[in-house]
Amino acid sequence: MSGHRWQRLLSRHPYLFTLLLFAVLLLANRLLQPNLFESRVLSGNFRTFLPLLLLAVGQTLVVIGGGIDLSVGALVSLATAILVTNLLPESGMGAFLAVVGLAALAGMAAGAFNGFCVAVLRLQPIVTTYATAFLFGGVALWLLPRPGGAMPQELAQFYRQQTPLGLPIGVYVIIALLLLWLLLRSTRFGHYLFAVGGQPEAAYTTGVPVTWVRVATYMLSGLMAALAAAALTLGTSSGDPRIGDAMTLDSIVAVVLGGTRLSGGQGGVAGTILGVIVLSLIRNIISFANVPNWWQTLVDALIIVLALAGPALVRLLWRRT
């Protein structure tokens, strides 16, 4: 009986297990790193995962719409290259916004290309975006052959040091993202997104513009990749043309941890945000737990596999008893 109830709860709130994991990890992290909740440390942590968070939110939209975007990492690299080659240490706010706008347009154009291939040409999303990732990554390397470039000093300083009302800037970004998500869910597009991901044929016969919705998800993912690049470069003040490579799969892990179903039609941004935080807590704990370097990747991978398998394991145990 209680197993049944747990299953229903889990199916209604698929990120419940991740929430549990979050509590445990937070506690563990606090034990290992006593100053975790100090404003400076907290702000640093938020800065570390904010780029992945923005990226994973974009990925969430694509996945809910029934697709997947393996080119997001390359798009971060591309946007990074655009940002650092067009900005100077002394650039002001206006120039910065203009260049971010340019990067955002590039990201959306690249996303439109992905969307065209997937929705209009009907190519398989996994292979298509895997291939376009090389295309976008190549352009990034052409723009910025080796790490370097610059970001506006003042803005970077502000981003790193300011904590309005004592809270890291990342907190405000998360609140803004959640509000935008709630807004999106109440629009017709929000309904279309879930319909297209859940049962495309049914959506089509009902008159939902399926092709357009799919293209839009990839464009939004490209836009979020550009914003992720902006957050990343503000944090490091320079650009690496391969910086996004490792972020693609992390974004997908975060989406799954957040309870969004990879087959589409179900999930949400709130879960993904939780997934990103859990992922970064895992990394944080490993770096503070004095795990030898060569073990780090293994431990990291094991915890992630466990976290992903968690809900299924619980269900399995309940069925046996």
Binding site: Y192, G198, Q199, A202, A203, T206, V208
Partner: protein, 537 residues
């Protein structure tokens, strides 16, 4: 303005296949036209052309006297033409309300969806079926949790939410129970008064005669008859559908009515003459929807499971096939069977023919041969002896009279009735000792139904124990000697001999005799036999 729609000589070809050669029909506001024909006669194609899903390659469509061509379903809907299809157009993960209003959600300032209005308007639509649906059917309920009948009702309400002027009901009653059908027919009567036009596609003769003002008959893609209900006789319609002259012997014309009965006689005769050993003994079976059920099936018996939809019948079949966790004692052929996986059940000679044939019974893009042999490949060695597999597949296909271009054609090329025969055939290859059937004739045309009945009778005569759930009372009455009626996961009546009558079946299905099953049964049977002669004129 009142609507008239007139389809004139519409045609549609797919490659070399003619789906519709010359389809014509007219329907006016306030009128119900029944569109009948065997599976594959072009009914679906004709209704898809009218709703803009398919573009015709011949003929024309006139709306209010003017020629129209719809670019797609939205274009047709914009002109007030909409359809309720049997292949459901619902998104399982979305709620009832979200599904009904998808693409025309009430909004604030044309931007944000007005959830309160969506909920309220959905509740108003659901109220049309109040009393015929469970309390679980709430505007916020996810569609995936609903049973098929309630999904169908959501589909009907979705069409209705667009305030159409012409509604096509394509097999809309196939998954509804009798209460829901009655409610739907009341609604259709209201629509007629409101001046809506209705095209009603159905295989059920009694419903056609209850509802339709006129009947249009299709055969082989051609409109072969237009009858007014007042002057039409059932056998005329059947004759037009099958292409056989109605003037012959009455028994010949009423194929649809007579065949299952005759088949039932044969099956019944087998079981009375040779009462076989107990094949299946179930004691106190419990699943999420079944709360303690006991039953027995003998070799050569065709035991019916009846009752309203979703009373646990499917759970019983799935549990027996090892596909659903359950408790209770099951013995098959005297041996204790606690199957935890369909493979174990198959090894013990159990076969299950699922209800949702497209989702659970068939790999629609794979060939007919592959589908037939899917459960049986293990018997053909390594490497597979393909010629033997092909010969066996051919034999079963011939036995079932599957109408097909060849064993290598995909199952998706078959009509509904023939596809259902493939589902049956794949289990026949394994010569099961116990056959479980979940509503096997749903959405199947008259001819294929008759063949399935004949086949079941032959199997029973050969000693196979069959447990048969059907939503069609007629089918149970004519095929089975004994019917168990379930209500709310409990056995509420066991009907056989004189107590197995239509009125008893309907009454038991509604739960009318629940609670006094054990001792009230004999009395109920007697009361019924006493009442029955009086009620027949």
């Amino acid at each position: 303005m009142l609507m008239t729609l007139s389809a004139q000589h519409l045609a549609k070809h797919y490659g070399g296949v003619t789906a519709l050669a010359d389809g014509s029909l007219e329907v006016a506001a306030g009128e119900v036209v029944a569109l009948v024909g065997a599976n594959g006669s072009g009914k679906s194609t004709l209704s898809k052309i009218i709703t803009g899903v398919v573009a015709p390659d011949g003929g024309q469509l006139l709306l209010d006297g003017k020629s129209v061509s719809f670019a797609g379903p939205p274009a047709a809907r914009a002109r007030g033409v909409t359809a309720v299809y049997q292949e459901l157009s619902l998104v399982p993960d979305m709620s009832v309300a979200e599904n009904i209003w998808l693409t025309h959600e009430p909004r604030w300032l044309g931007l944000l969806v007005n959830r309160a209005a969506v909920q309220a308007q959905t509740a108003r639509l659901l109220a049309l079926f109040s009393g015929a649906i469970s309390a679980r059917l709430d505007p916020r309920a996810p569609v995936r949790d609903l049973p098929p009948d309630e999904k169908q009702i959501v589909e009907i309400l979705k069409a209705l939410s667009r305030r159409p002027r012409l509604i096509i009901l394509d097999e809309a009653t196939a998954s509804l129970d009798s209460r829901q059908v009655t409610r739907l027919f009341d609604l259709v009567a209201d629509w007629q008064v409101q001046g809506k036009a209705v095209i009603f596609v159905s295989h059920r003769m009694d419903e056609i005669f209850r509802l339709a003002d006129r009947i249009v008959v299709l055969r082989n893609g051609q409109t072969v008859g237009r009858l007014a209900r007042s002057e039409a006789r059932e056998r005329d319609v059947v004759a037009l559908m099958t292409g056989q002259a109605a003037a012959g012997a009455p028994g010949d014309a009423a194929v649809a009515q007579e065949t299952p009965a005759a088949a039932g006689e044969a099956a019944g005769a087998g079981s009375t003459l040779l009462p076989g050993a107990v094949r299946l003994q179930v004691d106190d079976l419990r699943t999420p929807n079944v709360h303690g059920l006991s039953l027995q099936v003998h070799d050569g018996e065709l035991l019916g499971l009846g009752g309203l939809r979703g009373q646990g019948q499917e759970d019983v079949l799935l549990a027996l096939f090892g596909a659903l966790p359950h408790s209770g004692r099951i013995r098959i052929g005297g041996k204790v069977a606690a199957f935890r996986h369909p493979q174990e059940a198959m090894a013990a000679g159990v076969a299950y023919v699922p209800g949702e044939r497209n989702a659970q019974g068939l790999l629609s893009i794979r060939s007919i041969l592959e589908n037939l042999q899917l459960p049986s490949w293990a018997g053909y060695g390594l490497p597979l002896r393909m010629s033997a597999a092909r010969a066996d597949g051919r034999r079963v296909a011939d036995e079932l009279a599957i109408v097909m271009a060849g064993l290598d054609e995909p199952v998706s090329s078959l009509s509904g009735g023939n596809a259902q025969k493939v589902v049956l055939g794949k289990w026949l290859l394994r010569s099961p000792r116990l056959l479980l059937l979940n509503d096997p004739t749903k959405g199947v045309d008259v001819g294929a139904k008759a063949e399935i009945y004949r086949l079941l009778a032959a199997l029973a005569a050969a000693g196979t124990a069959i447990l048969f759930y059907s939503s069609d009372d007629e089918e149970l009455l004519s095929l089975c000697r004994r019917v168990l009626v379930l209500h709310d996961g409990l056995l509420c009546a066991e009907l056989q001999g004189p107590s197995l009558t239509r009125s008893q079946l309907v009454a038991a299905g509604m739960g009318a005799v629940s609670g006094e099953t054990a001792n009230g049964e004999a009395a109920g049977g007697k009361a019924d036999t006493a009442a029955e002669p009086g009620s027949t004129p």
